[in-house]
């Protein structure tokens, strides 16, 4: 426990931690000191002078900035005496010399710190009559952010954010004196994945978001707290809507997850909710093969009849369910129960052949918390480029390495967003990770120095698949290595929304709700609660698609799943969907996959339903409803309950909250997790399992041995913006996908006779494409990198084999 000192603030004695900044100490004890530049998550700079207070010193009273003054014992501070009031009036009068009074047409008007402070602390009138600064306005500094320079009060929050937090300082002060303004470099926009945060922390309306500008006034917005589902970190957000339309999302500062920050995909990726393309009625395929609108009863009847026929004729083994990672835990539980009890199938998978073994994930109960990154001495990231796939984790790891002094070892086939902060960076050919791991474990070869960096604990290992060509068992082997390190803890990385919650609800062939193995301890209790379980071995996503393509699956149910786009082997998914005789989709859009469905049910989406979700730590948090779904959409659990009834089974699902109660009773790892607790005492979530849950036993597979002998190996990995269906229907994000390209090391390019080529032909076992050729000297030799799922690029499959030839 740190030392405590006594400080007198406005005549009131308070005890505060020694060394804390006065502005923070005062705020925590109930005295708000006005400020513009100080932000609790960034270093103080004392630029705006708004937080000036008076200190009593042995040499008389002194005016100091509260944001740069640490408290000391016996300090006497005045924050609102006559002197301070005069000082505050002066500061605000100066700030308004150039700040325009265009509040009525400014996005910030109504929630503007400057406006509020001028009201509360300002002089009321200005003595300045001179012309204010004028600039061309607004100038787009990126596709998402607009800058009105004349409104800027030069607090440096945005520039400090981009340097201290997100690590891409593409905006800076330019010029000097009266001419200082924020600028980007010519032709180099503020294309940060985190640019939206600067809009949120701007204390005036200088930075505004294109997606929100002129769309609403703050006092017309209603807001609800929720959890973001764009990545798996479970970021706390405030969803804000007006007239039943979600208009913006803001980050909420909570310590366990996002510390207030959001990626732009999270902040601006909500617009699909209001897309005119959203499904608003169920669809049926007519005689000509076109989709026609249908009533719920028609559509449910068709689905129930066809599914019933198949179940009677071929049994549950002929039915498979793909998806569920976009659902809440309650919907996922309903789907899991529906699959096992009504369909009698274990062919269920929420992962799209792009994740890790579900039993490995369920068995990792001693996971690291995101917060462990704050105290870690060393961090190992061996998996996807966090900046592209897990942006919030990226910020937390960057903070640990940049601000908190943790040693950082990054292992990836090419450069990642963290390389500039990595103490050690190792690259390798996908498929040969096991060799590098052997070196790392032994501390030999090129991994010797990295091994030393991991010698001091606590160590946090973030492990996952670096790309789609990567064997998932490599991540298990890396995790096993991390556990041998001093105080080593693992955060396993899987992709897609609520995938951890979906797996915890049993949306995996080998899992039942509550991290129970289908064949293990606890399965009997669930069988009893549910009235029986299927006993055939289940297929995972790849197995389901292969069986479907071979004609062994007669009914495929897609729940918010777009395997054609999301499964690495998109070609296999396409063939599977063409072969399956009856496809049912529960979705928000007609995707490349649900387009071939015979029956499409329209479902409520994010912000349209209440429930819980689970993040990668196992943290269960609430998501909340603020708008209704369009047209006749319904929650997934209700669709499934209705369909079950028509198939002659009562699932007994009555509401999302009732399902939550059932989960808390049936699913061992979720025992005792109730909405009541999440809404009140545990607003930052509950990390499951709590005490008393016997973890599933899981023996990791042997380290993968299979190695690709070919000359080149494909590295297929996601980038933040792609052609996924939700991004495609969010106008702010739709244009941001970088587009298809093939990346080669310059040496490889020369060797292949592609030294000066603009384009190259990429051929794999599963597909081929002609793509723009880019040189990338950060690639490991012999690796061909292609960003996954870019607009206009046909699926190339997961690799590993690939050839690149002149176009």
């Amino acid at each position: 426990m740190s030392e405590v000192v006594t400080v007198t603030i406005d005549g009131r004695q308070v005890e505060v931690p020694a060394g804390e900044l006065l502005i923070k100490a005062a705020q925590d004890r109930g005295t708000y000191i006005p400020r513009f530049c100080w932000h609790p998550r960034m270093k103080p700079v004392g630029m705006c002078r708004m937080c000036l207070v008076e200190l009593e010193t042995p040499r008389g009273p002194a005016i100091v900035t509260a944001c740069t003054t640490p408290v000391s014992d016996g300090m006497v501070v005045h924050t609102r005496n006559e002197t301070v009031q005069r000082v505050q009036e002066g500061v605000l009068e100066f700030l308004l010399i150039n700040h325009p009074l265009d509040c009525p047409v400014c996005d910030r008007g109504g929630e503007c710190p400057l406006q509020d402070h001028v009201m509360a602390y300002g002089p009321g009138e200005s003595r300045f009559v001179e012309e204010k600064r004028h600039f061309e306005k607004p100038i787009p500094i990126s596709d998402l952010v607009l800058l009105d320079r004349e409104r800027c009060i030069l607090c440096a929050r945005c520039t400090r954010f981009s340097e201290e937090i997100s690590g891409d300082p593409l905006i800076e002060f330019t010029d000097r004196g009266n001419g200082v303004h924020i600028a980007t470099f010519p032709d180099l926009p503020f294309s940060s994945y985190f640019s939206g945060n600067t809009v949120q922390i701007c204390p005036v309306g200088a930075l505004t978001a294109t997606a929100y500008r002129f769309r609403a006034r703050p006092w017309d917005l209603t807001a609800v707290e929720s959890t973001c589902l764009q990545c798996t970190a479970g970021d706390r957000i405030s969803i804000q809507a007006s007239q039943n339309e979600v208009l913006r999302i803001l980050g909420v500062d909570v310590e366990p997850t996002n510390q207030g920050w959001l990626s732009d995909r999270c902040r601006f990726g909500f617009q699909y909710l209001g897309s005119p393309e959203r499904l608003a009625t169920p669809l049926l395929r007519d005689a000509t093969g076109d989709h026609v609108e249908a009533s719920w009863s028609e559509a449910l009847a068709v689905a129930a009849t066809r599914i019933g026929d198949v179940l009677q004729r071929s049994g549950g083994q002929a039915v498979a369910v793909l998806g569920g990672a976009r659902l809440t835990n309650e919907d996922a539980y309903a789907l899991s129960k529906f699959a096992r009890v009504v369909l009698g199938t274990n062919h269920v998978d929420a992962q799209m052949d792009d994740g890790l073994d579900p039993q490995f994930l369920a068995a990792t109960v001693d996971r690291a918390r995101i917060g462990d990154l704050e105290t870690a001495k060393a961090i190992l990231v061996w998996g996807p480029d966090l900046k592209e796939e897990h942006p919030t984790l990226y910020l937390r790891v960057r903070r640990a390495a940049q601000e908190l002094g943790a040693k950082l070892v990054v292992v990836h086939p090419r450069r990642t967003g963290l390389d500039d902060r990595a103490t050690h960076k190792l690259t390798y050919r996908p498929g040969e990770g096991a060799d590098l791991l052997t070196e790392l474990v032994a501390g030999t070869g090129r991994a010797a120095e990295a091994r030393e960096a991991l010698a001091e604990g606590p160590v946090v290992g973030l492990v996952g698949r670096a790309g789609y060509g990567e064997d998932p068992r490599l991540a298990e082997a890396v995790a096993a290595f991390v556990r041998t390190l001093p105080d080593g803890k693992v955060l396993p990385l899987a992709r897609r929304a609520n995938v951890y919650g979906a797996l915890d609800m049993g949306l995996a062939p080998t899992l039942l709700p509550g991290r129970v193995s289908v064949a293990g301890e606890g399965a009997d209790a669930i069988a009893e609660a549910w009235g029986g379980l299927p006993d055939h071995p289940g297929l995972d996503a790849r197995g389901i698609l292969e069986a479907a393509a071979a004609g062994d699956i007669e009914v495929l149910i897609l729940v918010g799943a777009d395997p054609v786009r999301d499964v690495p082997d998109g070609d296999l998914a396409r063939r599977a969907l063409e072969t399956v005789p009856f496809v049912v989709a529960i979705d928000q859009f007609l995707t490349d996959s649900s387009r071939v469905a015979d029956v499409v049910f329209c479902a409520d989406g994010f912000a349209e339903k209440e429930g819980t979700v689970t993040n990668l730590e196992g943290r269960v948090q609430k998501v909340n409803r603020i708008v209704p779904g369009p047209g006749q959409t319904r929650p997934d659990w209700s669709i499934l309950d209705d369909l079950a009834r028509r198939l002659g089974v009562e699932l007994g699902l009555t509401s999302a909250e009732a399902i939550a109660k059932e989960i808390a009773e049936v699913a061992p790892a979720y025992r005792g997790v109730t909405w009541e607790r999440l809404d009140w005492e545990a607003r930052d979530g509950i990390v499951v399992p709590e005490e008393g849950h016997a973890p599933l036993r899981y023996v990791p597979a042997d380290t993968p041995g299979a190695r690709h002998g070919g000359d080149l190996v494909l590295h297929l990995a996601r980038v933040m913006y792609d052609d996924g269906v939700l991004a495609r229907h969010s106008p702010a994000l739709a244009g941001l996908a970088p587009g298809g390209a093939v990346f080669l090391h310059p040496d490889d390019a020369t060797r292949l006779g592609l030294g000066s080529a603009e384009q190259a032909r990429v051929v794999t076992e599963h597909g081929e494409a002609t793509l723009p050729l880019r040189m990338d000297d950060t690639l490991h030799r012999g690796v061909v990198y292609v960003p996954f799922n870019q607009p206009g690029v046909p699926p190339l499959g997961p690799g590993p084999g690939v050839t690149v030839t002149p176009a």
Partner: protein, 213 residues
């Protein structure tokens, strides 16, 4: 896809690159070398271009926006082309009291352009500057940052005419002081032998001196 512009191929001459390397070697942190390297970039192309700033950014591991922020703060980093001779007239208080305004007017008139501009031939750029540390010899004028003290409107005109007619490859403070100056701040100052070869400070590591012994 990275935050730095692609095309890491340097636009600089081998000599400039060698100088950049040796300057960088002096600093424990690469970014500390940003200001010397900005002079290198200016000397390489005559003034600081966007490309020059982007190249400095790559050398020192900053973003171009950060380099631009530094470059735009200091008035000696010229981001517009200047003439071959940059004539800087001090108009701060000491010089002003001793007739700097008249000196500046004479330079502007003789050069044919107002302060802040370059003549048509690209020979002379006129500017007025804040204190250049020669109050004792006010009014002071610099040509390519080489100092002349005790300038009168008449000698200022002569200076401009001389720059045009003699068109020296380099300018040296002592030589110009002899020709156009009068009173100096420090008569006992050590004689400078090296001159400036362009509108940037004469400094050996930048390669901006004429290398006189």
């Amino acid at each position: 896809m990275g935050i730095y512009p692609a095309g890491a191929m340097s636009r600089w001459s081998p000599e400039t690159r060698e100088r950049a390397r040796s300057i960088l070697a002096r600093y424990p942190e690469k970014r500390s070398a940003v200001m010397p390297l900005l002079y290198l970039a200016a000397a390489e192309e005559g003034y600081l271009t966007d490309e020059g700033m982007a190249e400095v950014a790559e050398w020192v591991g900053l973003t171009p926006a950060q380099v631009q922020s530094v470059a735009s703060f200091y008035t000696m980093y010229k981001r517009e082309p200047t003439g071959r001779y940059l004539v800087s007239c001090c108009t701060s208080i000491s010089c002003m009291l001793l007739g700097a305004d008249e000196v500046l007017a004479a330079v502007e008139d003789e050069a044919g352009v107002p302060a802040g501009e370059t003549d048509e031939d690209g020979v002379i750029t006129v500017e007025h500057v804040e204190c250049i540390g020669a109050c004792g010899g006010a009014p002071a004028v610099q040509v390519n940052y080489e100092l002349i003290e005790g300038v009168t409107p008449d000698t200022a005109r002569e200076l401009v005419r001389w720059l045009r007619s003699a068109a020296p490859d380099s300018v040296r403070a002592d030589e110009m002081q002899e020709l156009f100056g009068t009173r100096r701040s420090f008569d006992w100052a050590i004689a400078e032998h090296a001159g400036a070869v362009g509108p940037y400070p004469a400094f050996e590591p930048y390669g901006t001196t004429d290398g006189h012994p």
